[in-house]
């Protein structure tokens, strides 16, 4: 357990010191959320209707943005091989990486989401489902993303591969996340969608560290 927390603290420090990587995805999130306003009629009711979906789409993209760096620096400077020698199972290393990815991107997306909701004239009643769905959904994105990031280690065109591999696996989170928000906008029951999101998170929590560990093992062979 101690090893995991050390790894997480190290990763968070690195991401804040290395040219503010953590800030990048949040800036992207807010900028992308803003861009839609210029393409659409900002006064129409359309914004309220599509806001929930757009928040989730740009959250997926923002979470994906920093995936390429998740293992790549460790892979290139050789730290990744040291993890295999360390007395913690590699599955826990994979989990720690996903946790630190969430602590440097996902959590900021949760905080910034209400701001984007403000841009889209979403009613105040959606604040609860929005924050809860983001809290349940973004860790899933980090977990699935960590597997994708481990799979493409050392490939020739990783920046193109990450979206191709990760985005199809993100679709369930997108569907149920936006369903929860849209139901709240229409004033109907949304708890069942939040429960599905929680279920997706638990599935990802149980499976993805193992897949990531398998992928990391292939990468250092």
């Amino acid at each position: 357990m101690n090893g995991i927390s050390l790894l997480i603290i190290r990763d968070i420090k690195l991401s804040f010191r290395n040219g503010s990587e953590a800030i990048m995805s949040i800036i992207f999130f807010i900028l992308a959320g803003m861009l839609f306003q210029f393409g659409l009629d900002p006064n129409s009711r359309v914004l309220t209707q599509i806001g929930g979906g757009i928040i989730w789409v740009i959250a997926l993209l923002a979470a994906m943005l920093s995936l390429g760096r998740m293992f790549n620096n460790d892979y290139e400077d050789g730290s990744l091989e040291q993890y295999f020698l360390a007395p913690i199972p590699i599955v826990f290393v994979a989990l720690a990486k996903a946790i630190s990815h969430w602590l440097t991107t996902g959590i900021f997306l949760v905080v910034a989401a209400p701001l984007i909701a403000l841009f889209y004239n979403l009613p105040n009643t959606i604040l609860m489902p929005l924050v809860i769905s983001m809290l349940l959904g973004t860790p899933t994105l980090s977990l699935i993303g960590s597997t994708g990031a481990a799979l493409i280690l050392g490939s020739r065109n990783s920046s193109v591969l990450i979206p191709l591999i990760v985005l199809p696996l993100y679709i369930p989170v997108l569907i149920f996340g936006s369903l929860a928000i849209n139901s709240a906008v229409e004033g109907v029951e949304y708890n069942n969608f939040l429960m599905v999101l929680a279920g997706l998170f638990l599935i990802a929590l149980a499976l993805s560290p193992w897949a990531t560990a398998a992928a990391l093992r292939q990468a250092i062979e």
Partner: protein
């Protein structure tokens, strides 16, 4: 065990050379009979008219696309667990075939949807999950070719194939779990098929033809891949 039996690529080459013409011939015969049955000897649907005949391509292609993915997933597991030399080659050879079948499913489904549902495409669970299947295939292929080392590409793609297997039961049960435009399963049901024999016969014939075609192409592609690797090895030997 079968696994050990095929561990020798030369033995596989010898046996597959004998088997390929049989499967190829079987494909042609089954296709001729199946097309005759589905175009001439089966009745038009009482609601859909002749548009129902799209089913004889759409459904077999869907079954084959799913079967192909299950095959890739099993071969990926064998490749990761037993490091079987042919399993990687099988995955590599099967994935583009799966893309082909999935595109056929989506295209014929779209053509069938226009006259019957009145739309080319709806975002329901069945259609979306099949579209995800297509992207999984594409991701698998690009991951296979993304590395300088062929072995590493095969291993990474194998892990992805196993992760993506979650999608297969979702595709299968999507029509039962959600109320959608797409009709529920009518063949593989507990209370027997809900489709008339005059339509079931051409459907099964076409399905068999598609599977035979898949096996034929898979064997040919695997033999080609083996030959390519042998050539590389020979070139390497002669160069040194």
């Amino acid at each position: 065990m079968v696994l050990n039996f095929f561990a020798n690529p030369n033995r596989f080459s010898r046996i597959s050379a004998k088997v390929v013409p049989w499967f190829g011939g079987g494909t042609i015969i089954l296709l001729i009979i199946g097309i005759y049955f589905s175009l001439f000897s089966s009745p038009p649907d009482y609601q859909q008219g002749n548009a129902v005949r799209i089913m004889y391509v759409h459904v077999p292609a869907a079954w084959t696309a799913l079967a192909c993915y299950v095959f890739i997933a099993i071969m990926s597991a064998i490749s990761l667990i037993y490091k079987h030399p042919l399993a990687d080659i099988a995955c590599r050879s099967a994935a583009p075939l799966g893309v082909g079948f999935t595109i056929i499913v989506l295209a014929t489904g779209s053509l069938w949807g226009k006259p019957t549902w009145g739309t080319w495409w709806v975002w329901d669970a069945r259609l979306t999950s099949v579209l995800i299947l297509l992207f999984l295939y594409l991701g698998h292929i690009s991951l296979t070719h993304a590395f300088d080392s062929q072995d590493r590409g095969a291993k990474a793609a194998a892990v992805l194939a196993l992760i993506g297997f979650i999608n297969i039961p979702i595709i299968k049960f999507s029509v039962d779990w959600w109320n959608t435009l797409h009709q529920p399963a009518s063949i593989a049901r507990l209370d027997g098929p809900s489709i008339d024999t005059s339509m079931l016969v051409p459907l099964l014939l076409m399905a068999l033809a598609f599977i035979f075609y898949f096996i034929t192409m898979l064997l040919i592609r695997m033999r080609t891949e083996l030959a390519v690797r042998k050539t590389h090895a020979l070139k390497y030997k002669m160069g040194h």
